[in-house]
């Protein structure tokens, strides 16, 4: 290898690691930095660090610059749209990370294993300060991930934190970010106007729908204000004119206006971080501290985090190196927002409710019982029984404090030039204390006290004492890991070998508990005991007796692993590399014989650096490498058991006998899930690196997946979980980078493209009907040969011209037998649209630089998937329920002929939940999810001050805007397919980073 080529290789590797960083410096500057960065293009698997060129497997690396392009409080959300093959599934309440499709179907964790500095991280991910992160590497295939064995089936995310460097003077850097996020758009979900809602209530009142509730003078169930007014009018307590006037006054009011004004705000997120690092020849150290303070868009909710970290490396003699790290993180979360306002424990609220009255004071909203009753019950001797949600906001005191402490210690000794051994240990301790103090003035406390109050003559007996109620919860996590490992590395003649072997023990235990104090006085810290053993009459129905709610629990979980592993790679002539790894894991999986607890995983790989072959003569493409791997990894859930297990649940209601339920039916065949991956990849770069990238194709077979299968109810279970499914994923990950430099102007374009298709290849019981799989596609649709997350709809045959009934198919015939369609639909009665997860997705990130200014925009896209939009459901409302109706109501069939313009069924009385369900899940409410999104824009200016008089060497100023909206979408119903409940709020952040 001639010297120039060698230098060239160094250069290219450095650039690869550099990602899309704006190159504002001069050409010589770039070259200098790239040579420095060469050492950083080492890929850490958590067990060893290898030069990227020796790896046969598939991985993606996000370096510090790219990672910090995004501004956020947490680590994970910064990775969205940066890495091919990783999809953020946003259908649930929290984002779910999927690496290369599906390797688990819902019951075991589908998240990739997260490694923080060589060990699996068991604590709260939010405890990690993103400013401490040096790089993130995603291990995607078996050769790179299978070293993590039984927990690597979903891929592995290796987070490496910053460290000091030997022989570098101490430097201080400071970062400050402030972000503002818009308050949520509560009007995103279309609802019918309050005035139309009131008209319908009036109509239903006339039909006697509310009569059962109105006639109930025992428990006085809640009715809406309009029903109450109509009832008073009917009973002659109010004139028709007055009733009409009072109802009209409610018509123009929309609760969402009040909620938006009084319960939400623009969120503000502040982030500050300091870091000091440097070292001598024998010692280096890094000290960092961070502080975050977020005011969330829900009023009353906030988050603060303080992190402190120290990482020190020692080299007392040349052969010995020691590492000591301590990280401490403390955060506090306030959750005082009242959440959704409801008229009862469940259900909705009438849409014309107000949060404040004319004077701006908290207004009363009907809850649990009729207003007139709540006003007068007990003739003044009960506590106020009315509910004022706006007041609850200021009364709530709900805080969770979490502290996480992480120790790392490692020692490595180089015995000979080739052989070294190392011992690594990690200890993690996390405490979390939650405290929910419900004030005596809060509705919950007043309601509980009142519902147990007995009035006996002049005596007021209160089994639940006056005073607040304090619910306290504690949880503690303790985890440790200990690893012993031998490393061998040798290069001679044309050969080079790198091998490791070792053993590891890991333990993660959690303990948690909660308890409650009644009659709590926050100032005096005193509380009162209550009688949990006897039942007391309920105020509203003295004949039914109830226990005072007891809140107290304790639980403990332990997960343990013992593992042995080895990994070796051999390179010949710098051109051919072969790698292999093997690992055995054992865990404390319950009820499985010890022999079966050990599960082996292995992988093998080959790489061929074609460009280094003597015959290779394509000078325009000086870098070309082909690699392929195959291997196994697993996925485990130690919470399951193979034998019948029972769970004690406390004491029975009558007789106070301890009782237990069957937690787990016997399942002697329980075993770990297995993920086998075959990967083939091609890396290339043109001369001058104007175009570089990689193309990878994979086939990933996940077998023995634990899933809930619908059971024959004769077994005693309508469903249960067992190893019952296999999924095959096939996909393509492409990442391309193009660049151009014209004088002071530069451009880098990164195109990421991922394609994944997955299908169920095995499923132990065939569903007898398609009906149970029709829906939103968020649950498994178990049809072999199709994707498990498929959107399946009932076939729709239009509306009945007679009455506006939606018509479907049953056994291929047009039918309106909704009960049967929603239970026994066959294949010919349904439509299979396709996956509800994007099958094509990626990002196109463009970075333009001009002198010290860089502008970078990331456009993400998702194609080839479907989602279900919401629509109107009448049944609950028509039977007297309270819930806002969807605005599709306005498009409903009303007269013969309407069926030509609309698909929305007529509102018919009595309502039918199955008729609603049929239409809700019919093919007309399925929409294409395809869209292109402007995810974020980053504008950065670097002030180079190394020559100035100020103490700064450099200041970097950033404006970062996120969630800027959709550029294009396939659906024409105005919905963002990734955000069906509330749209992603736009945010803008201002950042300053100073190096001293």
């Amino acid at each position: 290898m001639n010297k120039n080529l060698f230098l060239y290789v160094l250069n290219t590797i450095g650039l690869a690691a550099c990602g899309s960083l704006a190159h504002a410096q001069s050409e010589t500057d770039t070259l200098r930095r790239d040579t420095v960065m060469l050492e950083e293009v080492q890929i850490s698997t958590g067990y060893q660090t290898l030069p990227a060129e020796r790896m046969t497997g598939s991985f993606e690396r996000v370096d510090e610059k790219l990672f910090n392009r995004q501004i956020s409080t947490d680590v994970i959300s910064r990775l969205d749209g940066l890495v091919p093959g990783m999809l953020f599934d946003k259908r649930g309440a929290t984002d779910r990370l999927l690496v290369r499709g599906l390797s688990s179907i819902g019951l075991t964790d589908s998240r990739p294993l997260i490694i923080l500095d060589n060990f699996p991280y068991e604590g709260d991910l939010d405890a990690i300060n993103p400013n401490d992160v040096a790089s993130v590497t995603l291990l995607k295939d078996a050769a790179s991930a299978s070293i993590w064995g039984a927990r690597a089936g979903n891929g592995v995310l290796v987070i490496t934190t910053k460290r000091g460097q030997f022989g570098r003077p101490f430097r201080l850097s400071a970062t400050s970010n402030v972000a503002v996020q818009e308050k949520p758009d509560l009007f995103y979900r279309p609802q019918i106007a309050p005035t139309d809602y009131i008209d319908n209530e009036t109509m239903l009142f006339g039909r006697g729908v509310y009569d059962a509730a109105l006639m109930n003078t025992r428990t006085w169930p809640a009715v809406t204000p309009v029903v109450d007014i109509l009832d008073q009018q009917r009973r002659g307590l109010m004139s028709e004119a007055e009733a009409a006037a009072r109802i009209d006054a409610l018509r123009g009011h929309d609760l969402r206006d009040d909620e938006s004004r009084y319960l939400y705000r623009d969120a503000v997120m502040q982030q500050y971080a300091l870091s000091l690092s440097g070292g001598s020849d024998r010692l280096n150290t890094l000290l960092s501290a961070g502080y975050d303070r977020n005011l969330q868009s829900e009023r009353g909710n906030g988050y603060t985090r303080t992190t402190v970290r120290s990482q020190t490396s020692l080299r007392p003699v040349d052969a010995l190196s020691l590492d000591i790290g301590i990280a401490y993180s403390a955060n506090e979360r306030q959750a005082n927002h009242p959440g959704a306002i409801r008229m009862g424990a469940t259900g909705g609220i009438y849409p014309y409710a107000s949060l404040v009255d004319e004077q701006g004071r908290p207004a009363v909203v009907v809850r649990d019982r009729r207003l007139g009753y709540a006003d007068t019950a007990g003739a003044g001797r009960l506590l106020d029984w009315r509910y004022r949600p706006y007041e609850e906001l200021s009364l709530a005191d709900n805080t969770t404090k979490l502290q996480n402490l992480l120790f790392n210690l490692s020692a490595r000794y180089q015995w000979t030039a080739h052989l070294s051994t190392e011992v690594r240990g990690q200890y993690e301790n996390q405490w979390s204390d939650s405290r929910q103090l419900q004030d005596e003035r809060s509705y919950y406390v007043r309601d509980l006290i009142n519902s147990f109050t007995q009035l006996a003559g002049d005596n007021v007996i209160r089994p639940v004492p006056l005073g607040g109620i304090l619910d306290a919860g504690r949880s503690r996590l303790q985890a440790y890991g200990l690893r012993g490992q031998a490393n061998y590395r040798r290069d001679w003649a044309a050969h080079s070998v790198a091998a490791i072997a070792g053993g590891e023990v890991r333990h993660a235990g959690t303990e948690s508990g909660s308890d409650r104090l009644y009659g709590y006085d926050a100032d005096l810290r005193i509380s009162q005991g209550v009688d949990y053993a006897n039942q007391y009459p309920r105020y509203t129905s003295p004949s039914s007796r109830a226990f005072i709610p007891y809140v107290g629990s304790g639980s403990r979980t332990v997960s343990r692993f013992v593992s042995l592993y080895a990994n070796a790679s051999y390179t010949y002539n710098g051109r051919y590399t072969a790698s292999a790894s093997a690992r055995r894991d054992a865990s404390n999986l319950f009820g499985v014989a010890t022999n079966d607890r050990w599960s082996p995983f292995w992988s093998a790989g080959l790489a061929w650096d074609i460009a280094k072959e003597p015959f290779y003569a394509w000078s325009a493409m000086p870098h070309l490498k082909l690699r392929s791997t195959y291997g196994h990894a697993g996925n485990v859930d130690n919470g399951r058991a193979a034998v019948t297990t029972i769970e004690y649940r406390g004491y029975s209601r009558l007789g106070r006998f301890p009782y237990a339920i069957v937690a787990n039916p016997p399942n002697p065949e329980l075993r770990w899930e297995d993920v086998a991956t075959w990967n083939i990849g091609l890396d290339f770069a043109t001369k001058g690196r104007y175009l570089s990238g990689s193309i990878e194709y994979y086939v990933k077979d996940a077998t023995d997946l634990i899933s809930t299968i619908v059971a024959d109810p004769t077994s005693g279970f309508t469903s249960f979980a067992r190893n019952s499914a296999s999924i095959r994923n096939r996909g393509l990950d492409i990442s391309l980078q193009g660049r151009a430099d014209v004088g002071v102007f530069g451009w880098i374009g990164d195109l990421l493209f991922s394609h994944n298709t997955n299908m169920l290849t095995e499923y132990h019981n065939d569903p007898w009907s398609y009906s149970s799989s029709v829906g939103t596609g968020n649950n498994i649709a178990p049809f072999v040969g199709r994707t498990p997350y498929a959107l399946i709809s009932y076939r729709f045959a239009g509306l009945d011209p007679e009455n506006g009934d939606p018509m479907g198919y049953l056994n291929g015939e047009v039918s309106n037998d909704y009960n049967n369609i929603t239970r026994n639909a066959t294949e010919e009665d349904v439509v299979l649209h396709g996956s509800t997860l994007a099958t094509y997705f990626g990002a196109f990130r463009n970075t333009f630089t001009w002198k010290n200014l860089s502008v970078s925009a990331n456009v993400t896209y998702r194609f080839g998937y479907f989602f279900r939009r919401e629509t109107v459901a009448y049944a609950s409302f028509l039977s007297g329920g309270v819930a806002a109706l969807h605005a599709d109501y306005y498009k409903r069939w009303q007269h013969a002929g309407d069926e030509r313009q609309t698909t929305v069924p007529s509102m018919r009385i009595p309502g039918s939940a199955n008729r609603d369900a049929f239409y809700r899940d019919s093919e007309v409410t399925a929409e294409r999810g395809d869209h292109i999104r402007l995810q974020d824009v980053n504008i950065t200016y670097v002030f180079d001050m190394s020559n100035g008089r100020l103490p700064f060497r450099q200041i970097r100023a950033t404006v970062y805007a996120r969630n800027l909206g959709l550029l294009w979408k396939a659906n024409d119903v105005g919905l963002d397919p990734d955000y069906l409940a509330t749209p992603a709020a736009r945010s803008i952040a201002f950042g300053l980073a100073m190096d001293f």
């Binding site: 729908v209 003699v317 010995l320 011992v423 403990r556 332990v558 029972i646 109810p713 005693g716």
Partner: protein, 455 residues
């Protein structure tokens, strides 16, 4: 420096020792503190004391379809499709929920029966083992009985070999096959389970939430009555009453209470509740049949203790032995055993003895001093009278009326055609219509190769 050199070696060795020695114990730690393999008698007793399953969720389809109550059109319209269809006896109604709750109870019973013989006593005694085992047998037999009244045709001695019996399960193995037994086998199994339970159980339980010998005999009496084996029914009811025969004097009760009876009143032999998932029988909805109401004499205290007049003049039931107005009692009580005994005596040609038993019961139901001992001239009159009293005493008792309709229609005595009217449409259920037997749920048919009931 020298010591430092060896540090990694020592750390490594320590780690390795730890690694190789305690592996077995290290991995034997249970993953969650609440998990336990049932191994002791206490564990199995705890499963049987799972009141939310063993004493609640008894199947309600028969009671939704029965005739002692009616719904207004509005209330009917506001119920689930399943409840609405059951109410009007729609031919293809799917009663999966009832099937599932029953077989869940049977699964629990089988978990206990599989392990109880080898269970550790752990400080308890053999009688505790017997009690847990007897309770499991009772739950299994009693639950099969409920299933038989919904999903198996009315018992006829000459049709014992027909294949329309229940799938019988004797193991908790979730993979066990589901095959229909013969009608004869089904009833024989119920009888065997209850008989064995009667041998094992203590005479009376600490609380009527637990099965007892009295409960097993009462259940047997009900079973034999359903099968038309009146001699056996008489014997079983006698065995039951020999242990527990106390009747409440209704004169001591207060008709002004929202619910006239306390939970676990002295007549309760086994406490149980109808599932109530449909909400049909809640006091706010179920209106009492007016013909039935008018059959109670002015001096009959049940008229006041059982019923309440609502604001709109209709009647609601407030006499649940479960102790609240929302729950239908579906257990066993002494009054029912009296009625079984009276009917069995009359049907076995001991008319006088039967009528005297009835007198004993009714004297405690009427205002003190108003009740006059009944005189009847013929067996048929006596039978008619005891069946009328049965309907009046056991109104709103889960499981009873539906079974009575099935057996009386089949015997051709007091044949009833049920009728509902909603929105001007009349729905009829003729005696012995195949719809008196509900369909096996489609989820069961779909997953097994078994024969569906007739339509």
């Amino acid at each position: 420096m020298k010591a430092m050199k060896k540090l990694p070696l020592w750390m490594g060795l320590t780690g390795l020792c730890f690694f190789l020695s305690g592996c077995e114990d290290y991995l034997a730690e249970k993953p969650s503190s609440s998990l336990a393999i049932p191994s002791s008698v206490r564990d199995f007793q705890a499963l049987i004391d799972y009141q939310a399953r063993m004493n609640e969720y008894y199947p309600e389809s028969g009671d939704i379809a029965a005739d002692y109550y009616y719904l207004t059109e509005t209330d009917w319209g506001a119920r689930s499709d399943h409840a609405r269809d059951t109410y009007v006896w729609k031919a293809d109604v799917d009663s999966e929920q009832d099937w599932a709750v029953c077989y869940e109870k049977i699964f629990y019973a089988n978990v206990v029966l599989e392990g109880i013989d080898d269970a550790l006593l752990d400080g308890l005694g053999e009688p505790d083992r017997q009690q847990a085992k007897g309770a499991a047998l009772f739950i299994r037999g009693w639950t099969y009985y409920h299933l038989s009244q919904l999903f198996v045709p009315q018992y006829r001695r000459d049709e014992e070999s027909s294949g329309y019996g229940l799938p019988l399960r004797f193991t908790p193995d979730i993979n066990a096959p589901t095959e229909r037994s013969t009608v004869g086998d089904t009833y024989r199994q119920i009888e065997a389970d209850l008989k064995q339970a009667a041998q094992l159980l203590p005479e009376r339980a600490a609380l009527a939430t637990r099965p007892s010998k009295a409960a097993a005999y009462a259940a047997l009496a009900r079973l034999y009555l359903t099968m038309g084996r009146y001699d056996d029914a008489l014997e079983a009811s006698d065995s039951c009453l020999a242990i527990q025969s106390e009747l409440m004097d209704y004169n001591t009760l207060d008709a002004n209470q929202a619910n006239s009876f306390a939970e676990l009143n002295p007549e309760v032999i086994f406490n149980a509740m109808l599932s109530g998932l449909s909400g049909v029988h809640a006091a706010a909805r179920a209106r009492v049949d007016t013909v039935l109401y008018s059959s109670y004499d002015e001096d009959d205290l049940r008229r006041y203790l059982f019923f309440d007049t609502r604001a709109d003049g209709s009647l609601q039931f407030k006499g649940s032995y479960y102790g609240n107005i929302h729950s239908v009692f579906a257990g066993l009580a002494v009054d029912e055993v009296y009625l079984i005994k009276a009917e069995s005596l009359i049907r076995t040609r001991r008319r006088e003895d039967g009528v005297r038993i009835l007198d004993e019961l009714l004297a405690r139901r009427w205002q003190t001093g108003t009740y006059v001992a009944r005189q009847v001239a013929t067996d048929e009159q006596a039978l008619r009278m005891v069946l009328e009293e049965r309907e009046k005493e056991l109104v709103f008792r889960g499981g009873i009326r539906w079974s009575d309709l099935r057996r009386l229609n089949a015997a051709g005595f007091l044949v009833t055609t049920l009728k509902r009217t909603l929105g001007g449409v009349d729905y009829l259920l003729e005696a012995n219509d195949p719809r008196y037997t509900f369909l096996i749920p489609s989820s069961v048919i779909g997953q097994n190769n078994i024969v569906q009931n007739l339509r």
